[in-house]
């Protein structure tokens, strides 16, 4: 009974999070001083296109009908919520009549693959190094690793990304300045091409990401290593490897798992700066375009997926926490 109540309460919070998130996004977009119709017309006329006032007026009215922006704000809100319940994101306004789901479906795999891979790899590498740096903090290699990570972590991401791009794509020309991915096929050629085109953004994200995991894990593990039960383990004559794994690592990793889950959930929102700098075809770049075009439907679709992913990741973590931590399980 207690378990059912626990699960139901978590699911309610999950539902509420999504509903509040979408409501905020919907009204925030409408409150912003931007309008997809004016943006489209303004872009057209700013290129110098010669449109008579009458033609402009006719186009504006027609676009309003086409984009479904007629009716009261509340009617539009209800219509949006109804669509989202069925995972129907509508049609992109700036790319009319391309379905938003199709656009997200095109971009999301790139983002998820890139960010999931780099997040998990940097999590593993960073935590391993951080554990070493925290548990064996007086060793020379721990100090060296800590110093390196302290240097990389505060470096602005764009700086790291630009240096990588200049060195690898311009000076050495090892990688392309413009990434190009074919439609997915389960072939070696596609896979090798994808690795080749994703290498620079992945490297930049891993360099910066690893720095954070090293620092946080080092802080956690050095604290745990000072605990009395660790000293007790030593006095009992346990090996350093056993202490390191069973006492220090397992007690330090819990909050890192939570942070990893949130990072992975956030991956669905894309990495704006990385995708813009490297021209990577992911969701971050799409969000940027959607904002610039006031594309309500596309923006709502992307944010919905992001909220859904983060809320779901949090829900799952809440549900599996008891499996990882015996203290929670037993309480």
């Amino acid at each position: 009974m207690r378990l059912t109540k626990f699960i139901l309460s978590r699911i309610m919070v999950w539902l509420l999070t999504i509903l509040v998130g979408i409501t905020v996004v919907f009204f925030l977009q409408r409150m912003m001083p931007s309008d997809p119709i004016e943006t489209m017309i303004s872009k057209m006329t700013s290129m110098g296109t010669n449109l008579s006032p009458e033609a402009l007026e006719a186009m504006r009215e027609s676009l309003r009908r086409q984009y479904g922006l007629e009716g009261t704000l509340f009617e539009q809100y209800l219509s949006t919520i109804t669509r989202l319940v069925h995972f129907d994101f509508g049609l992109s306004m700036a790319n009319y009549p391309t379905p938003v789901a199709q656009m997200i479906g095109q971009a999301l795999p790139y983002t998820v693959c890139l960010l999931m891979t780099t997040t998990i790899l940097s999590w593993i590498i960073g935590n391993a190094i951080g554990l070493l740096a925290g548990f064996k903090k007086n060793k020379w290699y721990s100090k060296t690793l800590e110093t390196v990570s302290m240097c990389i972590y505060p470096t602005p991401y764009f700086m790291v990304a630009l240096v990588i791009m200049i060195l690898m794509a311009y000076v050495k020309q090892w990688f392309p300045l413009v990434p190009s991915f074919d439609d997915f096929t389960f072939t070696w050629a596609w896979f090798s091409d994808a690795v080749y085109n994703s290498f620079m953004p992945a490297l930049s994200l891993m360099l910066v990401g690893t720095g954070w995991w090293i620092i946080s894990m080092k802080a956690l593990s050095s604290n745990v290593a000072e605990e009395e039960y660790v000293n007790y383990g030593r006095m009992k004559g346990l090996t350093e490897a056993t202490i390191g794994y069973r006492y220090v690592f397992r007690n330090s990793i819990l909050s890192q798992v939570t942070a990893l889950a949130l990072h992975i959930g956030g991956a669905f929102g894309g990495s704006l700066m990385c995708e813009i700098i490297f021209g990577y075809p992911g969701v971050g770049q799409m969000v940027n375009t959607a904002i610039n075009n006031s594309d309500y439907n596309l923006l709502t679709g992307v944010i919905f997926i992001s909220i859904f992913a983060v809320a779901t990741a949090t829900l799952l973590i809440d549900l599996i926490y008891p499996l990882i931590d015996p203290r929670i399980r037993n309480s």
């Binding site: 931007s34 700013s46 290129m47 110098g48 449109l51 676009l63 700036a94 190009s180 090798s192």
Partner: protein, 630 residues
């Protein structure tokens, strides 16, 4: 086992990279031989729906080569001579009555669609009638329906267009003047009679231009066009008798300025659309094959058809007063504004039209004496004809010895005819006359309140306008205005002007390429005035002028000619006199080309066309390009 697996994965990755390196060295990103491919930057960047080419869907993007290479217009623009020229139409429209409501259109014979079918009047009649039928469903068709009432087939190469009201400038509404024409693109009847224009994306478009779209990146980064085997039957082939030399044209999105600069330094791209002076310096220093419009300082091309400056909202106090708007002009040191914006690399213009080579001859130089003589009721003459000389002085003092030996006439040709005086004393006088006074801190006040406003400026795009805003802001602040710059992303920037949610904006509200300015200025008529809060259909400045209305009313029924030219000059003078907005400079475009693979790009010494790669006239340029290998 784990070690073997790891080594195998690393080996596979290295092999993949090695394969890709070899691939990248010899071919373009689309896999075509680099030496046979002209690579052009796609001005709008990544296209999110690359498979959509239906020209009447509002979300279709044309900047990635469709406008330039595949589709054609009835009438094109000769940007050098400032006149429209026939394209799919064999000649300019012939009016069939005195009130200009019915026109005969004769078509160019011998043009074929890229699938081999003849282009003829059936296509044009079908296009127009289909659009009129679908005007309630297609926004672009709704716009066309405000011009065209009906269309009749006469014979294979002739048709009649009946207009909604008088249309003495029909070719301007249905053909190209600037960039392209969005509301009428002729489509093939033989394809569309069996397809729905409202739903069919048209993934494999059929055009009358010299190239066909043969491949594109599924993520919208590049579009590959291949020369038609029968390119001599394309519109360009028939009109010029020439066939382009590049077998392929690749439009590619490079994104940030750093990437596009590196791409040109590495000879990956032949044409860039617009870069900053700083990026140009890097390119110039790093690649000897890169060139701009001018061989020497100021390098850029000043022939872009839009004029830039600051527009005030004439419904916002105290900018509703002409005197205050004049004070804004006279409190600017335009030489310093030019230096702060683009290091002097711009051509100045006090008129609401860009000082392109053609427009300068037609208007700016023509009206220079009139501007010099221009006198207010109090005897004050606000025009300063010595701008070019002063700019030269400043440039020389800052080490630009490149302009040292130019005559005054050459300087005026290069930097413009002059602008308004920098006269803060007169500006002060005008502010006081307008009822303004300074507060204890020296800031200007109106009705007891400090005049505080923002200049809305683009952020991260349209660099010239962005920098111009900051340059003006600092001078106006010095003069006593509590002014800041609101650097805005595209969505906010593009939404300020229409509903009037701004006080001042760094914009380009008037463009022009021809002697008859009616089509470009008609939106400034007060009939199209809309109060703040309502979307504008004409001028977004909320400017109203009975004098300008009278001139526009006089121009409206007249066909283009000497009379409309004279009236155009009068209109410009009224707009200057009443400061409809504050024009400052023509657009300075640094449009670099790379002659590593292709040569004979247009430039100031060989100006067979303007460097407008994003315009539909690009296809007239491409026939002139020569491969270096040849």
């Amino acid at each position: 086992m784990k070690k073997i697996l790891s080594l195998a994965i690393i080996a596979m990755m290295l092999m993949a990279m090695a394969t890709s390196f070899a691939f990248a060295e010899e071919t373009t990103i689309a896999g075509t031989p680099r030496s046979q491919t002209l690579v052009v930057e796609n001005l709008v960047g990544v296209v999110s729906n690359p498979g959509q080419h239906n020209p009447y869907m509002s979300g279709t993007n044309f900047d990635g080569g469709l406008r330039q290479l595949v589709f054609s217009n009835l009438w094109e623009m000769n940007t050098i001579q400032g006149v429209q020229i026939p394209d799919l139409a064999a000649e300019m429209p012939t009016p069939l009555n005195d009130d200009y409501t019915s026109f005969s259109i004769k078509l160019t014979e011998g043009i074929k669609w890229s699938d081999g079918e003849d282009f003829d009047a059936e296509d044009v009649v079908f296009t127009i009638n289909e659009l009129l039928r679908l005007q309630d469903q297609l926004p672009l068709a709704a716009s066309l329906a405000t011009h065209v009432e009906s269309c009749e087939y006469v014979d294979k190469y002739e048709l009649i267009i009946n207009t909604v009201g008088s249309h003495p400038r029909l070719a301007e509404d249905l053909g190209v003047t600037v960039c392209g024409n969005d509301i009428l693109r002729i489509i093939p009847e033989h394809y569309w009679k069996d397809h729905d224009l409202t739903t069919d994306l048209w993934e494999d478009p059929i055009g009358t231009g010299p190239y066909t779209l043969t491949d594109y990146d599924p993520n919208g980064y590049w579009f590959l066009y291949t020369l038609r085997e029968d390119a001599e039957f394309s519109d360009i082939g028939v009109l010029t008798g020439k066939v382009p030399k590049p077998q392929y044209v690749l439009f590619t999105a490079y994104g940030t300025e750093e990437r596009k600069t590196m791409a040109m330094l590495n000879n990956e791209v032949d044409v860039l659309c617009d870069i900053s002076p700083e990026a140009w310096e890097v390119l110039q220093a790093g690649n000897p094959n890169v060139a701009c419009w001018l061989p020497e300082y100021p390098y850029g091309c000043f022939d872009d058809p839009c004029e830039r400056g600051i527009q005030f909202n004439c419904d916002v106090e105290p900018f509703d007063q002409i005197g205050v708007r004049w004070a804004m002009a006279l409190s600017l040191d335009i030489v310093q504004v030019s230096m702060d914006t683009f290091s002097g690399q711009m051509r100045v213009s006090p008129l609401c039209m860009p000082p392109t080579t053609f427009m300068s001859e037609a208007f700016h130089k023509e009206m220079r004496q009139q501007l010099i003589d221009y006198t207010w009721e109090d005897g004050y003459q606000p025009f300063d004809k010595d701008y070019a000389l002063k700019l030269q002085e400043t440039l020389l003092s800052e080490g630009y010895d490149i302009v040292a030996d130019m005559t005054e006439e050459e300087l005026v040709d290069l930097f413009g005819i002059g602008w308004w005086k920098y006269d803060t004393a007169k500006a002060e006088e005008l502010m006081i006359e307008a009822g303004c006074e300074r507060d204890s801190e020296g800031f200007w006040c109106y009705n007891g309140e400090r005049i505080t406003f923002e200049i809305v400026a683009p952020s991260g795009f349209e660099t010239q306008s962005e920098r111009l805003a900051y340059a003006c802001q600092s001078q106006w602040y010095e003069f006593g205005f509590d002014v800041t710059v609101q650097a805005s992303e595209a969505s906010y920037f593009h939404n300020c002007a229409s509903p009037g949610n701004y006080t001042a904006g760094a914009w380009w509200p008037s463009c022009g390429v021809m002697q008859d300015l009616y089509s470009q200025l008609r939106g400034w008529h007060s009939d199209y005035y809309r109060p703040i809060g309502e979307s504008s259909v004409g001028s977004t400045s909320r400017f109203e002028s009975e004098r300008l209305d009278a001139i526009l009313d006089e121009m409206a029924p007249l066909p283009s000619g000497e009379e409309t030219y004279e009236l155009s000059k009068e209109a410009l003078m009224v707009m200057a006199d009443e400061v409809a907005w504050l024009p400052m400079f023509g657009t300075s475009k640094l449009v670099p080309t790379n002659s590593t693979y292709w040569t004979n790009f247009p430039d100031s010494e060989n100006p067979y066309n303007g460097p407008w790669w994003w315009w539909s006239c690009f296809k007239f340029i491409i026939t002139e390009l020569e491969p270096v290998a040849a």
